[in-house]
């Protein structure tokens, strides 16, 4: 079982990450991946200038590792791969890649779903949108907390 959890301070290529995972998962029957992208509009409907993801010098990496390990332990998967940006992003850039490989598809789907619900509400980042109307801190929505609650 392998777990990769990486904090990326520069742009990463989701296709390359998927390629790496698929190569490592040789012998498995299922690979499921999710990519989160910076949307082009802010919550107010204005054009996004930057999405800024602040992080903690040590707790952010720890949170990514803990969430990835928890997915690997909970589901019948062989590989978990999480890559998460920090720093400043522009519209369309990938924020997060969360993926699982398994012998069969069901645990791979569930692990990827679980990863995202936990990353949305527990990964140690502070997110703010910067646009023409100024800067706005983004927090998880009620639905994000409800989704997280599904796994308890």
């Amino acid at each position: 079982m392998s777990v990769v959890a990486r904090l990326a301070d520069l742009s990463f290529d989701p296709a390359a990450e998927l390629h790496e995972l698929t190569r490592a998962a040789a012998g498995d029957g299922a690979v499921v991946s999710f990519v989160g992208l910076a949307r082009p509009d802010t919550a107010e409907g204005a054009a996004l200038e930057h999405l800024v993801l602040e992080h903690h010098p040590s707790l952010t990496q720890e949170s990514l590792e803990e969430i990835a390990r928890a997915a690997a332990e909970r589901f019948d998967v062989s590989h978990i791969r999480v890559v998460h940006r920090c720093g400043s992003l522009t519209a369309g850039e990938p924020i997060v890649f969360a993926a699982a490989a398994a012998r069969h598809r069901r645990p791979a789907f569930e692990a990827a779903d679980y990863l995202m619900d936990r990353l949305k509400t527990e990964a140690v980042f502070w997110k703010r949108e910067e646009g023409p109307l100024g800067s706005r801190w983004i927090e998880p929505r009620e639905a994000d907390y409800a989704d997280r609650g599904r796994w308890e």
Binding site: L59, A123, W126, K127, I138
Partner: protein, 80 residues
């Protein structure tokens, strides 16, 4: 005592403060002192989701503080 802030807390009062405390003091006591002293973060600091960290570990409000401890307050996190 050195107190560090992250996220919207840091936007409001800066990333670091030197806060005079009277020992013995708990994290909860420090939190209440900050709420009383800094109205611009009073509401945020009362949010259950704001975590206090001492020595890289999440601690509760009853955690006792030593004079040389450094405390970090993390605003509610949001990943993905």
């Amino acid at each position: 005592m050195k107190v560090f802030f992250y996220g919207k807390l840091a936007s409001a009062i800066g990333p670091q403060l030197e806060v005079p405390i009277k020992a013995p003091c708990s994290v909860g006591g420090l939190r209440r002192q900050l709420i009383a002293t800094y109205p611009q973060v009073a509401e945020s600091l009362q949010d259950d989701r704001v975590k206090a960290i001492v020595g890289e570990t999440v601690v509760g409000d009853d955690h006792p503080l030593a004079a040389q401890d450094e405390v970090e307050f993390l605003a509610p996190v949001s990943g993905g």
